[in-house]
Symmetry: none
Subunit: 539 residues, 2 copies
């Protein structure tokens, strides 16, 4: 087994993604998390390029990292300067990072067209830049930009750049597929060629995902002998992103027959948590289909799959989800079979047999509602309530009855804000409660009135917040079309301990929202009562 | 150059993605679009498994596709049946699709554990199933499920399954990496082995993306001799999805040095449009970092990149974006922004100069509204009205003024249908019109009342229909959250001659719908008046 050196660039190349903009605090948080995971190198940014990046290196030095090394990123010196009087190199040294990574051009056309100097002059720039940083006593990583494009075009120049950097003292040479256009077999060929040309050199790979091949090209480079892999958490980065460490690390650790190790023993189970944490801090919606760590990565929807997974999970799972900290989920849809019902019930704590009549009844009710647009795969709390009611379990009583609601929306003149008011009359615990509320829109007014009416009876409802509200207009049918189309509402709610999603469907958005709202409130009340019962039973 | 046969499974395996649930209309729309793109095979679904899938094959037969072949999907017959009395095979034949694709197990452990029959019995099942479909005169594609896992474990059985299917008459054998856990080099090895074992057979590949390698394994299979590639638009599918055709097709066509062709000449530029269209119909947020077709795929953010790209785009772009119908985007500067306004105005028939003050005013108004969620890229009729008003052009007068609207929504008891009623008071052509209407939901009631109030004055409004109504809840902010989140409404309207889309944004869905509705009606009235003027001038 040999170690693959993981070099994370989430904070630098990742931050160049279109929708990412990390603050100093974000960068520190992510660094601490990556250190916990056991990432070897963390590239913090480009000192001098922005105040956040400059401040990062000062701040992180005080954080007492456990094992991660911090790298500062920059470039070879400007061709019109000397190394000694170049601001970029000076800022790198001033960052006090023990590892300095500089990007240098290794494609002749870039030297001529972007830098507008001769190849010979640029070789001196490379040598002088590396020497200057080495004289400052630092580890130096040389990122050879556009290496593969350059190597395909004029291999002599690209190899000369690598040789120059190595002779000047670079500790690692990293081959960059900067534009992300290179295929895996071409990456492998180039890596093998360099190992012949510069035997014994420590080589790294830096891939971009413009062909959806960044993971594949990184693996091809490792197979050909590269030992450092640069990438980012969740694959974020410039344009289509960088090689995704959340995929590369588990592939290398779990699928090499024990040939490679990337993280300290026992850390791989933290991966899913790190992925979610970075998405959260960067304020990005997690990508549900993301391999290994995504919410859907081990979610089974097709009926055949589900019945097989119930027998033996390995039949439809390429690894046990828990090895990367993820979990199996079985989804319920129109495509579902009785197996879906059984495994869903098991998750809610009920043991049902596939042949019990209640299973068949539940399946046909769920399929019928699914065909009318109820998205039970997303709204697990609504499914749980349906199941509990069908099984006649104690605990899901009707906590309240609707007597009447009215919502009044009015607007005067085009430029005025409309006014939304709702009244609700409920029968609750033997009493009749009649109240009213205004709101930001009709659904918000109804939501406020409902909670107002119930809060005196069920004070723990105040713990509950609505954290997401989604509306989808379902495809129009002959019966429902245009502004009268069927609408599906999904509401995600949370209290201190958990989150749950409920659903409603109607051609009337207020009615659809009402269904999802009352499921959400009922679920909270049921959960609280049930918790109390369990506590009593446990006690 | 040889042809790679593209087999699209967006409607079947794609529909098994967690957040996808295609209706019959959605499936028909997507099929027509894929036919335009020139996809060779389109797998429509599993006849008999759901009413939508069964109806699809009837409906699509009447649509007059240009070149695409429709495939129906199913499985080998149930081991307790014979082929002749099996419902699945009967439903496949009854679908009347000219191509029938059946999945069969090709891993011994699945036969024993999921099906619970002996390997020998299952070989008979495979042979009988294929023969039965061939006797019905159809092309048969055999999807060998879990092929690579089975081949690694017990290659003899996996090869025997393939041989049996081939001898029974299967036209194509497709090797499935069902769990998505196989690495590219192992796929290549297996494909080469089968080509030795069954020379001359037409082989296909069906990959899943559980290791973020579905594109890479598909390419490896093609390099090793597979000629059919199964995948989906945007890579949607069960768990982490299928091989992404939006990446595979351009890689094969653009990066093989002319070795492969997937689409008819000239169609590749449609790819980006097809990707967006499918995301739209499936109601999925497009993935901005998606290779080739994503919004960020050719977006340049890093300072070095932008300055180099302005000199020579190929320096930081692996292909010209236009080859796949995408475009370069550079972080919006004020200058680039004014250019956008000028070119937009030109599209609506106005010649503006970049330095006119009105351009600057329009730019800042559009940027401001866009930052509040107005999606002007989608709602061009709303942009055109804004532009016309700002330019003070004749024709966009205010055809009516709102004096007041009220919408009353009421519901009695949980099981009753709610009642929606709207009243509208308008000042129109010097008169005051006050009327009321019921509707399917509050927006529909308001829509009906508005048209009722106007129809006496503008009879041509009766030509206008609302053909689509979309609602998206925008990300919650500190100010707007939960049921009070900002909501964007897009309304598509049509008359005999054209279609137009308008937009409204508010935390109140009725207000947002009202904005989009009045823009829609105003646009129709403006269009009609303008047409009359033009006719008079022409005459």
């Amino acid at each position: 087994m040999h170690d693959i050196i993981i070099y994370d660039t989430t904070l630098r190349d990742g931050n160049q993604a279109e929708d990412v903009n990390l603050s100093l605090e974000d960068k520190i948080k992510i660094t601490l998390k990556l250190d916990e995971l056991g990432i070897a190198y963390i590239e913090g940014g480009w000192p001098g390029a922005s105040p956040v990046d400059t401040a990062f290196f000062k701040e992180i030095a005080t954080c007492g990292l456990k094992t991660a090394r911090i790298a500062a990123f920059g470039s070879t010196h400007h061709p019109t300067n000397s190394a000694a009087n170049d601001k970029t190199l000076a800022a790198l040294i001033a960052s006090n990072a023990s590892t300095l990574t500089i990007v240098g051009k290794s494609a002749e056309v870039h030297v001529r067209e972007a830098l507008r100097v001769t190849p010979d002059r640029y070789l001196d720039v490379v040598g002088d830049s590396v020497s200057c940083l080495k004289r400052a006593g630092r580890e130096v990583i040389f990122d050879a930009e556009h290496f593969f494009d350059g190597f395909a075009d004029n291999p002599d120049f690209s190899l000369a750049v690598l040789k120059k950097a190595l002779e000047a003292g670079a500790d690692v040479l990293v081959l960059c597929d900067t534009n992300g256009g290179t295929l895996p077999q071409d990456v492998a060929k180039a890596v093998r060629r360099i190992r012949e040309y510069l035997p014994g050199t420590t080589l790294g790979i830096h891939s971009h995902n413009d062909c959806e091949l960044a993971v594949a090209t990184s693996l091809a480079a490792v197979e050909a002998g590269a030992v450092m892999v640069q990438g980012s958490v969740n694959g974020i980065g410039e344009r289509c992103g960088n090689a995704n460490l959340c995929s590369l690390i588990p592939i290398l650790e779990l699928k090499s027959g024990g040939a490679y190790r990337c993280l300290p023993e026992g850390r791989l189970t933290l991966l899913c948590g790190v992925s979610n944490y970075v998405a959260e801090v960067a304020n990005m919606a997690p990508f549900s289909r993301q391999p290994f760590v995504g919410r859907s990565a081990f979610a089974h929807k097709g009926g055949i799959h589900v019945s097989a997974v119930n027998r033996n999970a390995t039949l439809y799972e390429h690894i046990p989800p828990s090895t990367v900290g993820n979990e199996q989920r079985v989804l319920l849809t129109e495509l579902a079979g009785r197996g879906n019902i059984v495994s869903m019930a098991r998750r809610f704590g009920f043991h049902l047999d596939k042949d019990e009549p209640v299973v068949k009844g539940l399946l046909s009710e769920l399929k019928d509602k699914a065909s009318h647009g109820y998205d039970y795969a997303a709204a697990e709390a609504s499914v749980e309530l349906l199941l509990l009611r069908k099984l006649g379990r104690r605990g899901v009583r009707d906590f309240f009855h609707l007597i009447r609601f009215r919502v009044l929306e009015s607007k005067q003149h085009n430029d005025a804000r409309p006014l939304s008011e709702a009244t609700v009359t409920l029968a609750v615990e033997g009493a009749t409660e009649h109240t009213a509320a205004f709101g930001d829109g009709p659904v918000n007014a109804l939501d406020s009135a409902l909670r107002k009416a119930l809060s005196g009876f069920y004070p723990r409802l105040q713990e509950m917040r609505l954290i997401d509200f989604k509306v989808r207009v379902l495809a129009a049918t002959d019966q429902y079309k245009g502004t009268g189309s069927l609408v599906r509402v999904l509401i995600e709610s949370a209290d201190q301990r958990s989150k749950w999603v409920t659903v409603g469907v109607s051609c009337n958005i207020i009615e659809a929202s009402w269904q999802a709202l009352i499921d959400s409130v009922t679920y909270k009340l049921y959960k609280d009562e049930n918790e109390n019962c369990t506590k009593k039973l446990d006690g």
